[in-house]
Amino acid sequence: MEWGAVSSEGKEVSTILESGSQRTLSPYVTGTSVLGLKYKDGVIMAADMGGSYGSTLRYKSVERIKPIGKHTLLGASGEISDFQEILRYLDELIIYDHMWDDGNSLGPKEVHNYLNRVMYNRRNKFNPLWNSLVVGGVKNGQKYLGMVGMIGTHYEDNHVATGFGNHLARPIMRAEWREDLTFEEAVKILEKCLLVLLYRDRSAINKFQISKITEEGVTISEPYALKTFWGFSAFQNPTKGAEGSW
């Protein structure tokens, strides 16, 4: 019996009852945090390019930030294959909308709304898409930045981050974010956050893409690395404060 399908036959239902709480899926290849920030002219987003297979770093060139239509950027953490499926859904959505040829186009708000419904619908079928998604964009001079989680939890804010990013990067962003941030300043904040994540999130890797979206369109950077410094004394002698441990 397909997972989550609620059968009208008592026998199958009781099998589920007896098995207790079980998950429908577990993620295989995953991406870690995505960061997003509104700035003066639009929205910028950053993510590393790692694809983890459990704790193994399996893929190192995963593009986790993609443009959707003309006005939207989508960043994903979580199951990479589910992200690719979502991109297919969105491709279909954008093309179908384009075929009306009425001069209308879907903006970030519409894309976000669509994803909210898709994510929540899938959780209702007990077959979730194992992702946290960041949606950013600009349309008609209106900046937009939002997030959707695996079970459809969604919100908007001036800065968002998924996973570890919500713990480690958002405090930095809260402290440094301003409405009138220039692009250079915004990049600087994101790189600071990425560096913290690189040091403290074991599945983060030193190969990133930063992308921006403005009224003019989308720019996604070539992959690049940040300069790291491992000379901190706490890194050099990590057990100093806990002698007697291994």
């Binding site: 009852l17 709480s21 998950r23 007990f126 979730p128 939890t153 969604h154 919500n166």
Partner: protein
Amino acid sequence: MALRGDWVYENNGGTCVAIAGSDYCVVAADTRLSVGYSIYTRDYSKICKLCDSSPLFLLPSPLTASTIYQHQHNKQMSCPAMARLLSNTLYYKRFFPYYTFNILGGLDNEGKGCVYSYDAVGSYERVGYSCQGTGGALIMPVLDNQLKSPSPLLLPARDAVTPLSESEAVDLVKDVFASATERDIYTGDKLEIIVVNASGIRQEFLDLRKD
């Protein structure tokens, strides 16, 4: 929810209070959205206006795990009618519930304040005041103490509306939220207060502790 698995729900916290007066109703909720020890956003409105809405608008949020709080006033659909509609909406999903604890506030057909309080599966009751959510247990006894609702067992039935004036009720709401914020980690950031009376709907905000 052993049948379904625990991942389908997520507790996003939040607190809501509603007080009915003789000619007004106050509905208030904080704007923090959290999960576990982390905050998603400090500015998430949990109150929505239902007056000229379709039933679909009733549960606007897919955050089944979060608490959604609602209010309405007495145009189009009356508050008691909306109350039953919300009950039915919740009970419709009796075996896969919307994990939300709602309060509906507004004015009834006579222009009197009314508050309806619900559980997750649609049991509801008209009361004079109510609070729900993560800070609910901290606030309820204070409301009981300050608003002294007559027992529902009394005959003939007494009005449950509070004797407080509108501004006194708003001040009480501000106080109980400021207090709940001190002890409940899921309550804070900002308080959104909606006052419904004969002259319409008014909204105000109050900053709460952000820690």
